[in-house]
Amino acid sequence: MSEDMTPSETTHINDTEITPEIVAEHGLKPDEYEKVVAHMGRTPNMTELGVFSVMWSEHCSYKSSRKWLKKLPVSGPQVIQGPGENAGVIDIGDGDAAVFKMESHNHPSFIEPYQGAATGVGGIMRDVFTMGARPVANMNALRFGDPSHPKTRHLVAGVVHGIGGYGNCMGVPTVGGEVNFDSCYNGNILVNAMCVGLARTDKIFYAAATGIGAPVVYVGSKTGRDGIHGATMASAEFDDASEEKRPTVQVGDPFTEKLLLEACQELMASDAIIAIQDMGAAGLTSSSVEMADKGGVGIELNLDKVPCRETHMTGYEMLLSESQERMLMVLKPGREPEAEAIFLRWGLDFAVVGTLTDTGRMVVHHEGRMIADMPLGPLADGAPEYDRPFTPTPPALPAPQIDTAHADETDISEALKTLMGCSEIASRRWIYEQYDSMVMGDTLAGPGGDAALVRVHGTKKALAISTDVNPRYCLAQPIEGGKQAVAEAYRNISATGATPLAITNCLNFGNPERPEIMGQFVECLEGMGAACEALDFPVVSGNVSLYNETNGQGINPTPAIGGVGLIKDFEKAVGNAFTQADQYIFVLGATKGHLGCSLFQRFVMQDDTIYAPPSVDLDLERKHGEFVRDMIDNGLVSAVHDVSDGGLLVALAEMCLSNHIGCHIEDD
C-alpha cells in the first residue's frame, strides 16, 4: 500500500476514489471487481475493497485450485475432521486425537528468511492449538536454489535459524523434515512447516461461531502494520522490484506465542469458548469472516477496541494487518471476566472487539464511523472458482539403458561416493542439530530416520510422521509424481512399523495462468488422489501456494506431503539402521534398474534431461506396506529402510553408517 494512502486528519481512507489502478494494486482482476460490485450492490469503499481483496486472494480463496481439490479423498473411519477447519483431526484410539496441518511461507521467507520461516512455524502451531490440541512435534520441508547460487547460503542460514529460533523457544520438538537443492528454486525458495498436536476427541474446538449477541474477543499481541497485503503477496509473483518492498514481512515473538498457547489451553479446559480461530493470513478479517460465515450468523466489530502497537492506524490497516500471535474467540455471554483473568495472568492483551448478529453481514465501526458493511457469504465463498485451461504434460522419454556390462567395482564405489556427497543425500546433521528435537521427553526417533516417532505422552502409543515428495518425478510425469509422493510417505511410515492414517500437504506450484503449470497441478492431484484412495490414506488438511515464479521462471511442481501414522506399542518399532551383525538383508519389491530422474543420472552421469520416472504400482505399495508392518509386529526384522533417493546402494550405505555395521552384498 503506497505512502499516500495514510490519511491526514481531514480526509478518511474511505473517501479515496476507487480507480482501476487501485483495484489492480489490490490484486483483483477487472471481472472479479465487477463481481464485488454486484455482491455489494454498490461501489465498495476502500476498506471494503481491501477486505474483498484478501478474502478473494489466491491464498485465502483457493480460486484456481478449489475445483480440483474437491476431488481428493478426504474421509475414512479414522477421520474426525477433514479439510475446511484450521487443521485436520484423526482418531488414534482411547479418546485421543491427532491434529495436524502443513502451511507454506514461501514468499515472506525469500524477502526475510529468518522472520519468514519463524512466522511460518508460529502460524502453523497456532492452526493446531486453536483446535484445542497441544503441539507435540514440528517438521519442515525446505527447497532452496543451487548451492552455488549467491543467495542460497544466506537463505539457508536465515531459514534454519528462524525455524530453530521459533520452534525451540516454543518448546515443541522439531523431529524431522527434508531439504532439497535445485536451481528451479533460485528465485523462489519453499518453506513448508508442519505441526502435529494431540487432543482429546471430546475436546476439539471449531471455528463456527453461533449465539446471537455473543461477545467476539481478541487475545494475544497488539496489532501493528506488519505484513499488510501479506495474503495477496503470498500469491504475487516476484519481480526484481520486490527487494524495495516496505518491510511488510511479519515479525514473530515466540515468547508471546508460548504464553498464548498456555493461556488458550487453560481457558479451553473450561466450557467458556463457543468458537476460536487464529489470526493468520489476512488477520482479523479472515478470522472474523470465516467464524461468522461458518456459524451462519453476522458479525459487528468496533475497531476502537482493538489493542494497537502503532499510532494512527486506519481501520483498513487494522483489518488487514498480519501481526503475529493473535487469536479471535467467541465466548459464551458473561464468561468474559473469567477469560480475561487468565489472559492477563499470562501478560497478554484481551479485548472484546465485537458481537455476533443475525444480519449475515460483517459491519465494522471505527472512530464513530461505519467503515464497512459487507455480505459474509460472498466474502467467504463468493470468490470465482476458476476452471483454468490446462495442457497435460506430454509423456517423458524413457531413460536410455546404460551399458552396465563393463562397470567394475571402482565405478560402483566412485558412484556411491559421488551420491553420498551430493547435495540431496549428504548428511543434514548440520541443520537438524540446530533444532531442539528432544524437548517434551517423548521423541523416540528424531531427525535422520525414515519417519519420526513421537510417543503419545503417558501411553504405549506413538505417532509416526514423515514429509515427502520428489519434485523431479512430478516435473517429468505429474500423475506418477503425485502417486509417488503419497506412496513414499506411506512407505516411510510403514518402515517404522506404524500404520499410515492420513496426510496433509503443501501444494507448491508456479503460475496457474500458464496452461502447462495448471496441467502439472491437475495431474499431480490426480496422482495424489489415486494413491490416497488405494492406500486408505485420506487428506485431512493442507495448503496451496501458487505463483511461485520469478521473472517468468516457475519452480518444479512440488506437492509436499506430510503423512501421520500410529503404532500401538512403540517397543515394537524399528529404525532404519542395522542393529547387529550376522543378519540377512532382504530387498522387498523388484529392482528394474530404472534411472529416469534418478540422482545417479543427475550427479554421476551429469545428465539433467527429464526422462520418465519409475511408475508407481499402488496395489504393490499397499501389499508391501502391510507385509512389512506384519513382519515388524511379529518382531521378525531389526531394521527397515525405504529405498528412495539414490536407490539401493545408497539405502544400504545409510543403513550401515548409523551404527557402523557393514554388510556383504552378492549380486547373483
Partner: protein, 222 residues
Amino acid sequence: MQASVIVFPGSNCDRDVAVCLEAATGKKPNMVWHGDSDLPDSDVIVLPGGFSYGDYLRCGSMAANSPIMKEVVLKAQKGAAVLGICNGFQVLTECGLLPGVLMRNAALNFVCRNTHLVINNNSTPFTGQYQQGEEVVIPVAHNEGNYFADDATLDELAGEGRIVLSYAPDDNPNGACKNIAGICDASGRVLGMMPHPERRAETALGGEDGKRIFTGLVEALS
C-alpha cells in the same frame, strides 16, 4: 523427599523434569509459578530448562529478578539443594548464586545433541551415585552455553573441585572455558549444569545416564 519446580513464563522443560522427579521420589513435585512469592518447604528446588522471558536481553536476566527468586536464594542459604538445568543454570549465574556467565555458543548456532561428560566430583548430593571420573552421555540443547569466568574464579572452581561436570575434551559443544558443563557453589548444594539429565533418564529415549542425578538426590536428601 519433596521437590519444587519453578515455572517461569517461557520455561518449557518443566514438565520433563517433573516426570523424572516423580519417578525418583514417588511424589508429584510442587510446580511453583514465578509470580508467587511463597515457596513451599522443599528438599530440592529445580530451575528447569527453557526460554524464560524468551531469553531476551540476556538468558535468565529477567527470570533472576522475578519475585520467587528471592525465596529461592533464601531457601538456598538455609540449606535447600538447588538444581539449575540449562536456562536454570543461566538464572543461577544472573542472580549470583553461582559465579561466571553463560555466553553465546562459539559457533553462534543452537546445538542439540548428545555429549560425552566426565563426572569430576561425585561427593555432591546430585552426583553421589556416579563413579569419580565416570564418563556419561547426556544431551545438551542451548544457544548460550559458553561458560566464561575470569581466571581467578576458574582457578578457584578447579581448586575446590567445584567443576562438577565437564565435557570430554574432544566433545565441547559451545567453547566453554575448561570444558565446563556444570559447577556448584562452595557448599556443593547448588548445582548449575547445561546438559539436560531429564532427557536421558529412560531407555526408550536412548539411555539412563541422567537418571542417577535424580535418584542420587533422593538418596542424599531423604
